[in-house]
């Protein structure tokens, strides 16, 4: 039986625009912060997993040159928006395998001003029709056969839930965004801390119906990092380190299994459901035990479907569940009390560790004004299109 893995230290930079700082500055801040929080140094770290999608190759090695080159193995990982969770998962696996007792996971992105993220760039129009790619397309398909923009893809994912279960409209999605923006006002690390009224959200610039601009995740800069240790190692450390350590009671990564419609619209549901089911089994808990959830609200339309995918509500009942107030910070299952990706921001590779930081900070009782009182168990979820889903269940230390 592989032993349990704990978060010994974890940190995130403020998310937002960091004009004067490059990805290495941000990554170093988060990594050094996590080491300080853990009370260990680079000499204690046995493995490094690092994610940075925009910055190019070998990010982990470049980061070592900023914080300590100790010769340990580096795994540079990439899994779209699940990159940070994947880095975390790599360290968890390394510790569970028994090869190392301490490891560091880091995720960084600089995305300010990146604009609209689309599936692929548009090719130049040529003088003659030439068949290209696996569809034999003679012209770019974005806009001619559906959309490749992320707001449009995720809009369809939310609307498809409405087709299957009913009770879904523009206002419902806007109210989800209203909640997350309201939550963000208590989070000093959020890129945006502005409360919006429902009218302001619905009347803002429409990007891809039903997602208006505030209902889309914010491109921004940021980094997050975590130091993980084995249970055996943790028991050799100080009582204070043991008291603040947070148990990773489940760590799961899935990809999307074949589904009929996943050939034409990404299916972010099936792999999340499978990840959640495995995570609850690993942790020996059910969704009813969760004191808070950070889930991947890259768009307001995505948050709705994940209530159902994570089993937070009755099957098909996500709209009613939200309307009951359950996911507001004073509800029965607070969701995205950090403000979520819509206001906290979404520096892609950092997101999967930042979500874990948020949950861990509540479990430690260190979340300040936005503390969910008495939080003992929480879940962090991310999705990277393609797809990859990471789910981590965290538990407060009993010590």
């Amino acid at each position: 039986m592989a032993e349990d893995v704990w978060i010994l230290g974890i940190d995130m930079t403020r998310f937002g625009r960091h004009r004067e700082r490059d990805p290495l500055d941000l990554g170093a801040e988060a990594a050094l912060g996590a080491l300080r929080d853990a009370g260990v140094g680079m000499g204690d770290i046995g493995v490094l997993a690092a994610g940075n999608l925009i910055g190019g190759n070998g990010f982990g090695q470049l980061l070592q040159k900023q914080i300590g080159q100790t010769g340990i193995p580096v795994y540079n990982v990439a899994n779209a928006c699940a990159t940070g969770a994947t880095a975390l998962r790599v360290v968890v696996m390394a510790i569970k395998s028994g090869e190392v007792d301490t490891g560091l996971a880091v995720g960084v992105e600089k995305l300010s001003g990146a604009g609209l993220l689309t599936g692929n760039a548009r090719r130049e129009e040529g003088g003659h029709w030439v068949r290209d790619g696996r569809y034999g397309a003679v012209a770019p398909l974005d806009g001619r056969v559906g959309t490749e923009t992320m707001p449009g893809v995720f809009a369809q994912i939310g609307m498809e839930y409405g087709y299957r279960h009913g009770g879904v409209d523009f206002e419902l999605f806007a109210r989800i965004s209203e909640k997350n923006h309201a939550h963000s006002t208590l989070n000093p690390k959020a890129a945006y801390q502005k409360r919006f009224t429902l009218d302001e959200i619905m009347n803002d610039v429409m990007i891809a119906y039903p997602n208006t601009r505030p209902m889309c995740s914010a491109n921004c800069d940021g980094a997050a990092a975590a130091v993980l240790v084995s249970e055996t190692k943790l028991r050799t450390l100080s009582l204070e380190q043991q008291r603040r350590a947070v148990k990773i009671s489940a760590s799961v990564l899935t990809s999307d299994p074949w589904q009929e419609a996943c050939q034409v619209l990404p299916d972010i549901n099936t792999l999340t459901r499978q990840a959640a089911a495995t995570a609850y089994e690993q942790a020996g808990i059910g969704p009813g035990d969760l004191d808070l959830v950070e889930l991947h609200d890259c768009f307001a339309t995505a948050e709705l479907v994940h209530y159902d995918n994570l089993g937070l509500c009755e099957p098909g009942g996500a709209a009613d569940f939200f309307r009951s107030g359950a996911t507001w910070r004073d509800g029965t299952t607070p969701v995205n009390v950090s403000g979520g990706l819509q206001s906290k921001g979404h520096p892609v590779s950092a997101t999967g560790i930042a979500n874990v930081w948020e949950v861990a900070t509540h479990l430690r009782g260190e979340a300040g004004d936005r503390q969910i009182e008495g939080a003992r168990v929480g879940l962090a979820h991310v999705i990277g299109l393609g797809s990859a889903c990471g789910v981590h269940v965290l538990e407060k230390s009993a010590a």
Partner: protein, 138 residues
């Protein structure tokens, strides 16, 4: 005028339609070229005609897109008797009053443009089926 389809899976005959590659092992259907079946890893595929009428199971109205893409347009997924097809909803105003979940639509062709040799490229979209009494059921 000579015409070419926008994509290989669009057939431009008297009754334009889409053709899928169906796995002979499990029946899974694909519109792009596959090395093997994503569902069962089978290696053999046969071409099958996809029904041209179906139900709109989801959509979005894209107002903001990459440079060069005309907006607004309606992107959606159509359930063509069990085969999901990606496509735009055309020949109707791009607003939520005219485009609704569950509406019946049918395949139609859409001009893409003409190249330097005078060859016309033709794409496809889905238009509302207006001669049905049940179109507003959903």
């Amino acid at each position: 005028m000579q015409r070419v389809p926008l994509v290989d899976y669009l057939v431009l005959d008297d009754e334009p339609h889409l053709v899928a590659a169906e796995c002979t092992g499990c029946g899974a259907r694909y519109f792009d070229r596959r090395s093997a079946c994503a569902r069962c890893s089978g290696l053999a595929f046969r071409p099958v005609d996809v029904p041209t009428e179906g139900v709109l199971t989801t959509f979005t109205i894209v107002q903001f897109a990459a440079q060069g893409v005309e907006v607004p347009f309606v992107a959606g997924v159509v359930d063509c008797a069990g085969t999901s097809v990606k496509g735009n909803v055309v020949n109707t105003p791009p607003d939520p009053e005219h485009v609704t979940l569950g509406m019946r639509v049918r395949l139609t062709t859409v001009p893409v443009g003409t190249d330097a040799s005078g060859v016309e490229a033709v794409g496809y979209g889905f238009e509302p089926v207006s001669d049905r009494a049940d179109e507003h059921d959903h």
